[in-house]
Symmetry: C2
Subunit: 404 residues, 2 copies
């Protein structure tokens, strides 16, 4: 009789956002007349920018012609996209990253879940707490996390690096050394970040201890402060210890378009073994490239017009972030984030747990947010709101919250 991967059985409940989706759906069924504003899942709402729509239309038409048809894409992505990435996301920031270190994918979620495959199941992971659930869940599925303690909400083999009010949401270098360190700055869910000098300490730590950093820079487009790195490769020595995950979902609204990429520098090695070659092998064997049409959309993100249009989109969402932050503060909440990220992280009032606050907000105010506890034990007592709604909905939500 075949046996299953019993690591799956260890996962408590369902994926966070599936749980929220179900809760909201059943609430809507019970109260169909209620008007619900969704500031929960980090999904964008603005339509795809005209320059990108135009590029996709052109690519679709091409695909319908004999000369313009494109079959299987190169395993690691089209040269036109990988070059545009290198030029704009790295060269422009003084980072030394080459085209063959860029791996185009169907999105950063897939990459952030799949990247752990390159490492031994004996590796121990370190994560900020709270954290985007995919890092831990994908390692649970691979058997790297030990056993779950439902009282503490922690895994026995995971090294947690708490990010809370008390330490200004800046994780401390862990005493127990993780083999794989997941970092996400600007951070999801807290919306906070760390200065470049602080990030450099992590790079130094990883190089000293022999750890690898898996750096999720999905929100770099929202950085407004000067001293914050947009890429970990702005730090010295990062080519030897860091993999970077990048998304088109938040800077270009590609949540439903699906495109991302991962940087694996050729200097990142375990003994003689190049992780760049390993990831190339994984791509070649387990993936068949992102759609041609979508890669052309990605290219348009870097066009002159595209850049202008996307800057406006980011500004639109950051305006929302400012409104939420100000509104919540006026309503008496303690609020974080929203300066270099589209997320607002608030302290739940009184002794409310974050799921209690979720229910309160849904039932009393008709607003969907994300309970901090869903991102890890140190998220308990916090709550995430996103700035990805429409201006209209954002203003309406804030007004509802203020009417206490």
């Amino acid at each position: 009789m075949f046996q299953i991967n019993d690591n799956y059985e260890k996962l408590p409940g369902s994926y966070l956002f599936s749980t929220i989706g179900k809760k909201v759906a059943s609430y809507k069924e019970a109260y169909p007349e209620k008007d619900i504003i969704r500031l929960g899942i980090g999904d964008v709402t603005l339509p795809i920018a005209p320059a990108i729509v135009e590029a996709m239309l052109k690519a679709v038409v091409e695909m319908g012609t004999e000369e313009g048809f494109h079959g299987y894409a190169p395993d690691l992505g089209y040269e036109f996209l990988r070059s545009a990435i290198v030029k704009n996301d790295f060269e422009a920031r003084g980072c030394n990253i080459e085209v063959d270190e860029i791996f185009v994918s169907d999105g950063a979620k897939s990459d952030s879940a799949n990247i752990q495959e390159l490492f031994s199941t004996n590796c121990r992971i370190g994560v900020c707490d709270p954290v985007y659930p995919v890092y831990v869940d994908s390692n649970v599925m691979a058997g790297r996390t030990g056993t779950y303690n439902s009282d503490t909400g922690t895994w026995s083999k995971v090294i947690y690096m708490p990010c809370v009010m008390e330490n200004d949401f800046i994780p401390q270098l862990p005493k127990e050394v993780p083999d794989m360190i997941y970092l996400c700055f600007p951070n999801n869910p807290t919306g906070t970040t760390i200065p470049k000098a602080e990030l450099q300490k992590w790079v130094n730590y990883a190089n000293e201890k022999g750890s690898v950093i898996i750096y999720d820079a999905a929100y770099e487009a929202y950085i407004t402060e000067e001293d914050v790195a947009h890429s970990i490769y702005e730090c010295e020595g990062a080519r030897n210890c860091a993999i970077e995950l990048r998304s088109f979902s938040k800077n270009a609204g590609f949540t439903g378009v699906r495109l991302g990429y991962t940087v694996v520098p050729k200097d990142l090695k375990c003994g003689d073994v190049s992780l760049n070659r390993m990831w190339a092998r994984r791509h070649g064997t387990k993936f068949n490239g992102a759609p041609y049409i979508i890669q052309r959309a990605g290219e348009a993100v870097y066009s002159q017009v595209g850049k202008i249009q996307l800057k406006e989109q980011v500004a639109y969402y950051m305006n929302n972030a400012g409104l939420i932050k100000k509104g919540l503060q006026e309503a008496g909440y303690t609020v974080f984030g929203g300066v270099n990220a589209p997320y607002i992280w608030l302290k739940t009032p009184g002794k409310m747990t974050s799921w209690e606050f979720f229910d309160y907000l849904l039932e009393e105010k008709g607003i969907v947010g994300t309970p901090g506890a869903g991102f890890g034990p140190s998220g308990e007592g916090y709550f995430r709101l996103t700035a990805f709604g429409s201006l209209e909905n954002t203003v309406a939500a804030i007004n509802r919250i203020k009417q206490m």
Copy 2:
């Protein structure tokens, strides 16, 4: 110091089609004037059908509007596509498959590589030999295959089911029972298939022994004979033992569009554990849906006009298959396949190995094919040609081969 997944180190060489790509590229560099005809990789050449182009154009325009914008797709695929799949691919054939048993993905290659994650690393796999390399390679990466013997080209823990001239390419039920059985009919690479009654034996065997069948039906659109099953769910009892992988690449030319789906019936269980729920959990955690635009393209595959246009495409390729088969036979080759599949499988002449024949065909005839040995040890002495070229190239290739 972090450690890598050392199973990757066990993989001999690179992914088959990457190797071929490199060989052809270096030949082209040496002889830039040579006109090369590619009948190697199973990539299609006809442009995307008009009905599908139209659907994508419409979806792209929608994505650029406030009302028509689509963000994150439902984890498992849009209802409109899943319903069309159930209705056309299963109900129409009398198979009892429900919408929540369909999991839409970015392509069958990803699914066929990822599906093994649901199973224990102690499971033993059984594969036809020769076979599509992804089944074995993805299991090597997961550590299920033991050690590689480079003399025999076999893995110590893999159960091989040879498919050769001598058994009419019909695999025998293995004495040593595999936990996971990979079957692909119509077969890639041999282009042969088995009657439905023969497939029923495999379903019975799996149910009796407690094995799971991973059934790759990527080429079902090419079936011309009446007694061949298009889906394993045409067999009684398959809901209890079989997962089916389906592709849009070959029936609709989506190699560069990227769309596939996997069927995991709710009756497929290991003890109390539903594999349908496990796969749903994997999708929710490690994947973020296929692009909206591409799922609309998939829907158009099942439209009335789409069906007619795609029937013509399949007929075009099958005409090529007939020409290749006939041409090779006239040139004195022993030839298989090409009746229910777009692949022609030929016996290499004399004592030529399949890689020797690859070099011969590339250097003497300017034709790229795929050496049988690349698909497994029993593929040695065979060679694959695909019918996915243009009619013009196919005719030219046959003429070149005939000029011996």
